[in-house]
C-alpha cells in the first residue's frame, strides 16, 4: 500500500515531540475523522530553527508529519509558507489516492503554526490558504 519512503518515515518518524517554548503551534484535524496533527515551530531570525510534530493518525499522517518537518526545518518563514501538501506527498514518493487527504494535514498544520507565530508577534495579517 505505502511505498518504502513512507514506511521509513512511519517507522522512524523524524522530529516527533513537543517544543516547550514554541514560537507557534498549529493543529489540524479532529477525532471524528480520525486524524490530528499538531505542529510546533521555533522561529529564529525568520528561520524555522526547529519544527516538531505530534500526531494521532494513520500511517500517511505520521509519515507526512515527519516529511513536512524535515522539509520545513531550516527554511525561512516565507519559504515554509509556500510548502504545500502536494510537496509533502511528492517528497514521500506519492501516497495511495484514498490517503491523500490524510497527508493534507501536514502543510496545513505548519501554516497554522506560522500563522500563530505571526499573530503572536504581530507580523502581519492572517495568512491565507
Amino acid at each position: 500500500m505505502y511505498n518504502e519512503i513512507v514506511m521509513d518515515h512511519f517507522q522512524n518518524p523524524r522530529n516527533v515531540g513537543e517544543i516547550a517554548d514554541a514560537s507557534g503551534v498549529g493543529e489540524i484535524g479532529n477525532v471524528v475523522c480520525g486524524d490530528i496533527l499538531r505542529v510546533y515551530i521555533k522561529v529564529k531570525d525568520e528561520i524555522l530553527d526547529d519544527v516538531k510534530y505530534m500526531t494521532f493518525g494513520c500511517g500517511a499522517a505520521v509519515a507526512s508529519g515527519s516529511m513536512m518537518t524535515t522539509l520545513a526545518k531550516g527554511k525561512t518563514v516565507e519559504e515554509a509558507k509556500k510548502l504545500t501538501n502536494k510537496d509533502v506527498a511528492k517528497a514521500l514518493g506519492g501516497l495511495p489516492p484514498q490517503k491523500l487527504h490524510c497527508s493534507n494535514l501536514a502543510a496545513d498544520a505548519l501554516h497554522k503554526a506560522i500563522e500563530d507565530w505571526m499573530n503572536k508577534t504581530g507580523k502581519g495579517d492572517k495568512l491565507d490558504g
Partner: protein, 389 residues
Amino acid sequence: MRKVYLDHAGTTLLHPEVYSLMCEFMKNTFGNPSSIHSFGREAKKWVDEARQQVADLIGSKAGEIIFTSGGTEADNLAIIGVAAARHKKGNHIITSSIEHPAVLNTCKHLAKIGFEVTFLPVDRYGLVDPEELYKAIRPETILISIMHANNEIGTIEPAEEIGRIAKEHGVLFHTDAVQTAGKIPVNVNTLGVDLLTLSSHKIYGPKGVGAIYKRKGVRLQPVVHGGGQEKTLRPGTENTMGIVGFGKAAEIAARELDSEFNRTRQLRDKLIQGIKERIPDVKYNGHPELRLPHNVNFSFSYVEGESMLLSLDMKGIAASSGSACSSSTLKPSHVLTAIGLPYELIHGSLRMTLGMMNDAVDIDYVLEVLPGVVSKLRSFSPLANKLTV
C-alpha cells in the same frame, strides 16, 4: 520473523484437506453440471455431495441449500429476494444497526426504492433487545434480518428468541451466520430461521462461494437473472471448484467444531487477559460471555488503528481495525459507533480473530509486541499528551 495471522474473521487460509481436494477436482473434473453428458454428470455428482455437506453443517436438507458467489450475494438474495416476492404483503423490514454492509446496504437500497426499514439499536455490548424487536413489528412487516453474531465485536445475538418472535408474528426470519456457522453450533431448526447466510472463506474454504439456506416453501425472487441453475434462484454456470471446496470445508468445520471452539476460546481468553494486564487505558469491546470463541476486540486510547495495524504488520502480526483510515470507505466502524464508543476509541480499535493458524506461542508473541507498539504511538500522540501529561 514470526508471522501471526489474527484476521480469521476477515478471511482464512484453505484447510489442507480442502486444498488437496480442490486441486484433485480441478485436475480431473471440469464439466458443466447442467450438461447431460458424462463430463457434466460427473461434475453434478460433486456439486450434489457438496450441497449435502453444507446442509449437514446447519442441520438442513440438501434441497434447501442454494449456492451463491459468497456471503454478500447470499445476504442480497435473502433480503431482496423476500422483498420482491412479498412486497404485496407488506413493505416493512426490520434489521439491526450492526449488520454487515452486505445486509445494511441492501436494506438501505430497499429503503431508497420504497421499503420501510427499521434499524434496531443495540446495547453497549452489541446486543439487540428482543423487546424492542417485538415492539417494532407491524402488520406490514415481511422480514426480520438480524445477524447471528457480529463480525467485528463477536457478540452473539439472541437468535432463537428472535426466531420465536418472528414465527409468532408470521414474519420471515433471515440471519447472517457467516461468522457463526462452523464456529459455534448452528441449526436452522433450533434457531427457527427461514433463511440463513453462509460464506465459505471464513471456514477454511475458498473465497467467492457461499450459500443461502432457504426453508422449504419460502418464496424468493432472484436478484440475478439468467439460466436455470440453482432452481433459477442463482443462475450462472456453477463455481464447481469453489462449491466442492466449500462442501469439504463445511464437513471439516462440523467435524472439528468442538475442539476448535475450545482451543480458540482458550487462546482468546489468554490474549484478552494479557492485554488487560499489560496495557493501560484500554477498552474491551463486545460482550464478555455471549461472544464468538475466536474474537478479541479492544480500543486503545490515544492511538489510531491503521498506525497500529502497520506497526504490527512490520512485526509480522496481521489484524484489523474499525478506524476510518483502515476501511475502504474511510468511515469509522458503524458497529463501534452503534455500541456508543466515542470516535477516539473507534479509531483506536483493534480486532484480533483467532483460528487454525494460531497457537499459544503466537499469543505470547503478540503480548510481547503489542504493548511496545501502543506505547510508541502514544509517545507522539497529541491526545495522550493532552490528557495524560
